[in-house]
Symmetry: C2
Subunit: 341 residues, 2 copies
């Protein structure tokens, strides 16, 4: 069975599909809600007697290439990416769906490894996979495996976090060094002969966000700088809130090996994808407390303040450079490198 | 612009992605929740003051080939399939996510047409698209376009519908003739030179289910027989409930043209996919009332009773054939035809 591969019949909806679901997905991901095997998962959301509260709902498809990369794989990525999107509105992630598009011929051992990784990430984040789907397409019609996850979370009473809530004076906190995910995937894919120990930072950020929310009610905006990198996320928030954001080049942490790879390859780390970092725009008086809380959390140990929110020029991101100048930072234009998430 | 195509940069997360989202998805699908453009959609679920109730959550990826087929396209399918999965647990569908995996080179005109169709289906079903995602993969890495939708619905108080709730004595109601979707897609794809007017039945069934729930609180199980067809859905429910189901071959409606195509091509309509039909297992005393309600609803006009639930043999589906025998109906084994949904 070690050399078993995905067959078209695994997507038929019939016997082979049931076998695949039972032997692989149910055996690894089982929970009572998923096990009901009806057309939808049904559950109550426990809002601890405080009325229903608001729900957060998000989706992402994952098409990363290669499927396995230093520090993670598409399974871990598919859980973390969606958990993080829920976390960025301050929601507590609860339930995820997982939908697989498999290419005929994919080794079942790869699928098993990816499912195990997905399960591990879900356990780490404390979320349950409650709904799933499997489709199979013919050889040549997809690139191994794509995963979509959608996520459902509960926004605690009183939490109002949005990219449009930034205010002049807010501190800009970054949870750690940037560029690791993009560079690790790129080096793995292109096999450029670099000897590199760069690992993806892919991680679930919900516990970090929970610690931050406990430290302060004045977290105005959160965003995880994935595709498009730190620069694009900052520009998005400046646009949404109608404010300016100023950052300091010398304060933006970049690991030495990532910086070296970027220099050789001609990439700007500001535009390289991350999968385990967040930007927080926080009321200035609460910034030290939030930063302290972040540093105590596993994925926030290297958190640091990299800038501040200004009133003008609206919608712009400015960067004070190391050499003493100021440049305008724009969104990523064109494609830096595809299939990074 | 008529010949504009999807570029890799449309998936970068940067400027081109924003342009695509604004010009195409937001302009067509806009609603206040989607427009917030944060990492997750945030909303309250209105359960009309009766406490939160239970939620239903489901996901499906759509990989149908070709993208356009008689009676529908992948956009309409992606909404109806997920709306129907929510409906099959008795939930009122409320919110959908839509995630696109685009192949580089896909004509933007096709994407626009598909998005318009998706919008039309969402409007017909009364659901809102509140979250989305766009990924682009290189030419040759996907087959034009895949869509994933996840859906969220509210299960009304007191509704408990599950494939595991069937009871001996229940009537088996089918909402209309079977096989139209699968045959229409197959004939369109294979271009077999048939002159055929078979159209897909792809339709949202939530209003039909609402009418049924109003007619009776004793609807025990619902399922839409998509991949694997009527036979597979019946076997699934017989398994889940530990009952037998007996149907009558002569009572299962099949349109003449579908029957003819199946005969020529060697397919059994019991295994051909549907995208706008449902099976209901209903307490016998309420079956006439439910049937009456169905016949008044747009997608239930040809509803009919095709059999009944028995205590034994557990987990089996039996079919009384036209010639007077009885045969055991099994799940689809192998693959009948791929890429049907």
């Amino acid at each position: 069975m070690a050399r078993a591969r995905v067959l078209l019949g695994h997507g038929s909806g019939g016997k082979l599909t049931h076998q695949l679901i039972e032997s692989l997905f149910l055996s690894q991901l089982a929970n009572p809600i998923l096990k009901a095997l009806d057309d939808s998962a049904v559950f109550s959301v426990d809002s601890k007697g405080r009325g229903m509260g608001r729900l957060a709902f998000t989706t992402d498809s994952y098409v990363v290439k290669p499927l396995f990369f230093p520090g993670g794989d598409i399974g871990r990525l598919a859980v973390c990416g969606t958990v993080n999107d829920l976390s960025m509105v301050g929601a507590t992630p609860l339930y995820l769906s997982a939908a697989f598009i498999l290419e005929e011929g994919l080794p079942l051992a790869d699928l098993r490894r990816i499912t195990a990784s997905l399960k591990g990430a879900a356990r780490e984040a404390g979320v349950k996979i409650v709904a799933g789907d499997t489709k199979v397409v013919e050889r040549g019609s997809a690139d191994g495996l794509f995963i979509n996850t959608a996520g459902l979370g509960l926004v605690p009473e009183g939490v109002d976090i949005s990219g449009s809530n930034a205010r002049p004076g807010d501190a800009v906190i970054l949870s750690g060094p940037i560029g690791n995910h993009g560079i690790s995937v790129l080096l793995e894919r292109e096999q450029m002969g670099f000897v590199s120990s760069v690992k993806s930072d892919v991680a679930p950020l919900n516990l970090l966000v929970a610690a931050m929310l406990e430290a302060s009610p004045n977290i105005h905006a959160l965003r995880d700088p994935t595709r498009g990198g730190l620069a694009t996320s900052l520009v998005e928030m400046a646009h949404q809130s109608g404010v300016a954001i100023r950052i300091y080049e010398g304060k933006v942490p970049v690991d030495e090996e990532v910086a070296a790879a970027c220099e050789i390859l001609g990439y700007d780390p500001l535009y390289v994808a991350n999968e385990g970092k967040l930007i927080a725009l926080v009321a200035p008086q609460d910034a030290p407390e939030v930063l302290r809380a972040m540093k105590k959390s596993l994925y926030g140990r290297q958190a640091t303040i990299i800038g501040e929110v200004l009133a003008e020029p609206r919608g712009k991101v400015l960067m004070a450079t190391r050499v003493g100048g100021t440049r305008i930072v724009d969104m990523l234009s064109g494609e830096q490198f595809p299939r990074i998430c």
